[in-house]
C-alpha cells in the first residue's frame, strides 16, 4: 500500500497518539485487503457505543484515544445502552448510567456528535451517491451502499473510529466498483408489503446468498421504512454490505447469470421461523430506529387506545423531538407506550427481562433470541398495536 508523506508521518506519531494508533489499524487492514492506498472519507458512523458491549475495557480504549484524538470529518454515533435522558423510567441502573455517560463523554471529547442512532441518514448524516464514507452499523452500511449508492465497507467500531480520527479509510472492498457488482439475481415472485415482510425477505435472501451482492427483481415499490427494514435484515442474516433492487436502488448493475427465486412459500416459511408459541409480554418497534412516518403511523393507530403490555418505541432523539412538536409523542405516551431514544433493544442491557417479544423487525428478532433470550413473534405494525392492547 502506498502512503503519502503525511500519512507516513501520521503513522509515525508526528500527529499524536490517537492518530498513530488509528493509522496503525487502517494500515494493517489495508495490507490485509491489498488496498493500493488510503482514500479520504466525508463522514463516519461509529458502532460500539453501548456500555453493555464495551465494558470497562472498551471504555478504557476510548478514553486513551480521547486524550489527544480529534475527528477530522462529520462523525455520528450508534445507539447507546440507554435513553440518555430518560433511563430511570426504563429500568436502567445508576451504576450503568454513570459508565454509559463516561463513554459518551469520551466520544464527545473527540468531537463526535452523540446522535446515538442507527439511522444517521435520517438525522443529518447524508452522504451522496458515490461518496466514500466509513460507516459501521451493518444496517446503515447496507442502506448507505444500496439505497444511497455511497461507498463504505462494513466497518467495525474501532476501524470506524480510526477513520474518524484520520479522515481516511483503505481503498478496498466496497470502495471498488468491481466488488459492488451483483453476483446473484433474485427473482421475487410474490407481493412484499410492510416493514415486517421486507424483513422476512431480507432473511430469505440473506440466508441463501450470504454476503454476495444480489440484484433483486420483482419488487414494484418500496418505502424508505421498508428499505430500512430490509437493509437491517439482509445485513443481519446474510452479512451483506450491498444489494440492488431493480427500479429502486440507484446503481446501474448488469444481471448476473446465477439466480434463484423467492416465492410466497419462502416468505411464509421465514415468517413462521420468526413466530414462536408464546404469550407476548413485550412489544417493540424501531429496529432500525423509527422514522417520522412510522411515528405518525403509530400515533394514528394508538390514538384513544390504552396498551396493556410493555411497549417500547426506539428512535433517534432528533426524530423524537420533531414528533414531540407534531403532537405524535403525546398521543403515543397517553396510550401507555414508551419512547426510548438514544438506544435500542439490541444494545440495551435487557437480557431475560421479558419472555416473548412481538416486533415488526426481522433484525430485532435475531438479536432478541441470540442476545436477550426472548422468544419472538414477527408481525405488521397494525397487529403489534392490537397485540399491545389485548
Amino acid at each position: 500500500m502506498k502512503l503519502t508523506k503525511q500519512e507516513k508521518d501520521m503513522l509515525n506519531g508526528k500527529y499524536g497518539y490517537a492518530v498513530k494508533k488509528s493509522m496503525g489499524i487502517l494500515v494493517a487492514l489495508g495490507e490485509i485487503y491489498n488496498a493500493k492506498k488510503l482514500v479520504e472519507v466525508t463522514s463516519v458512523q461509529i458502532a460500539g457505543v453501548s456500555y453493555d458491549n464495551l465494558g470497562d475495557a472498551g471504555l478504557e480504549f476510548l478514553e486513551e484515544l480521547a486524550k489527544d484524538g480529534k475527528v477530522k470529518v462529520l462523525t455520528t454515533l450508534n445507539p447507546a445502552g440507554m435513553d440518555l435522558e430518560n433511563y430511570k423510567a426504563l429500568g436502567i441502573s445508576e451504576d450503568f448510567a454513570v459508565k454509559q455517560r463516561k463513554v459518551i463523554e469520551a466520544f464527545s471529547k473527540m468531537g463526535i456528535l452523540p446522535t446515538c442512532t442507527c439511522t444517521p441518514y435520517l438525522i443529518g448524516n447524508n452522504p451522496h451517491f458515490e461518496q466514500h464514507i466509513a460507516w459501521s452499523e451493518s444496517s446503515a452500511v447496507a442502506y448507505a451502499n444500496s439505497v444511497i449508492g455511497a461507498y463504505t465497507n462494513r466497518e467495525g467500531g474501532p476501524s470506524a473510529l480510526a477513520s474518524a480520527l484520520t479522515g481516511k479509510t483503505p481503498l478496498y472492498g466496497m470502495h471498488l466498483n468491481e466488488n459492488r457488482k451483483a453476483q446473484v439475481k433474485v427473482k421475487v415472485t410474490c407481493p412484499v408489503k410492510g416493514t415486517w415482510e421486507f424483513g422476512a425477505l431480507g432473511k430469505v435472501i440473506g440466508e441463501k446468498a450470504k454476503a454476495k451482492p444480489v440484484l433483486i427483481t420483482g419488487i414494484k415499490e418500496a418505502t424508505v421504512d421498508e428499505l430500512k427494514s430490509f437493509s437491517a435484515s439482509i445485513a443481519t442474516y446474510g452479512g451483506a454490505a450491498i444489494f440492488h433492487i431493480k427500479g429502486i436502488t440507484p446503481a446501474k448493475v448488469s444481471a448476473p447469470k446465477e439466480e434463484f427465486t423467492v416465492t410466497q412459500a419462502d416468505l411464509v416459511k421465514a415468517e413462521k421461523e420468526l413466530d414462536s408459541e408464546c404469550e407476548v409480554d413485550f412489544v417493540s418497534v424501531g429496529c432500525p430506529h423509527a422514522s417520522l412516518n412510522e411515528l405518525a403511523k403509530l400515533a394514528e393507530l394508538l390514538k384513544g387506545k390504552k396498551v396493556k403490555k410493555e411497549f417500547w418505541i426506539t428512535t433517534a432523539r432528533p426524530t423524537k423531538k420533531i414528533a414531540d412538536s407534531a403532537g405524535y409523542s403525546k398521543i403515543i405516551e397517553d396510550s401507555g407506550a414508551k419512547f426510548a431514544a438514544d438506544t435500542c433493544c439490541v444494545v440495551a442491557p435487557i437480557k431475560n427481562r421479558f419472555k416473548c417479544m412481538a416486533t415488526d423487525s426481522a433484525k430485532g428478532c435475531y438479536y432478541a433470541g441470540a442476545k436477550n433470550n426472548f422468544k419472538v413473534k414477527i408481525m405488521p405494525i397494525e397487529k403489534l398495536v392490537e397485540e399491545a392492547c389485548k
Binding site: 494493517a28 487492514l29 458502532a47 467500531g157 476501524s159
Partner: protein
C-alpha cells in the same frame, strides 16, 4: 505438520485447538464473561473458547464483535490465538487492537479439536503437533 497462511496480527501462542466449520459471531454469539459460545444451534454451543487456539472459517455478525474480543482479552477470557480460512474485518480489527495472534488463509480442515497447535502470527505459520 506446518501450515502457511497470511499474517493478520503478530505474536506467538501455543495451546489446544478448538475447531468449528461454522462462523463465529463475537457480538452476541459468545458470552464475553465466561468465553462460552452462546449462539443457539451452533456446533460449539456451551463450549468455552477461552485459552484455546480458536480455528474457524471466519467471523460474522455485528461489527461490534471487535470490541467483544478486546474485552475478552482484558478480562482473560480470550482465545490464545485465532486461525481463519478467510479473515474478515471484525476478527482482523479485533485481533489487532487486542494483540491476539491471528493468521488466515489456512486450510482449517487439516486441524482437529484437541490437537496441540503453535501459532506464529509474524511468520504466519500454524504448526500442528
Amino acid at each position: 505438520m506446518e501450515l502457511k497462511g497470511r499474517k493478520i496480527c503478530g505474536g506467538k501462542a501455543e495451546g489446544e485447538a478448538l475447531v468449528t466449520k461454522q462462523g463465529i459471531s463475537f457480538f452476541g454469539g459468545v458470552d464475553t464473561q465466561t468465553g462460552k459460545v452462546q449462539e443457539k444451534g451452533h456446533e460449539l454451543e456451551g463450549q468455552s473458547i477461552s485459552g484455546k487456539i480458536l480455528v474457524f472459517p471466519q467471523g460474522k455478525g455485528s461489527t461490534v464483535g471487535s470490541y467483544a474480543l478486546y474485552r475478552m482479552k482484558k478480562q482473560g477470557t480470550a482465545p490464545k490465538a485465532l486461525v481463519n480460512a478467510e479473515c474478515e474485518t471484525i476478527v482482523a480489527v479485533g485481533a489487532i487492537i487486542s494483540e491476539i495472534p491471528c493468521v488466515d488463509k489456512i486450510d482449517i480442515s487439516k486441524i482437529k479439536t484437541g490437537q496441540k497447535i503453535k501459532v506464529d502470527g509474524d511468520s504466519a505459520t500454524v504448526e500442528v503437533k
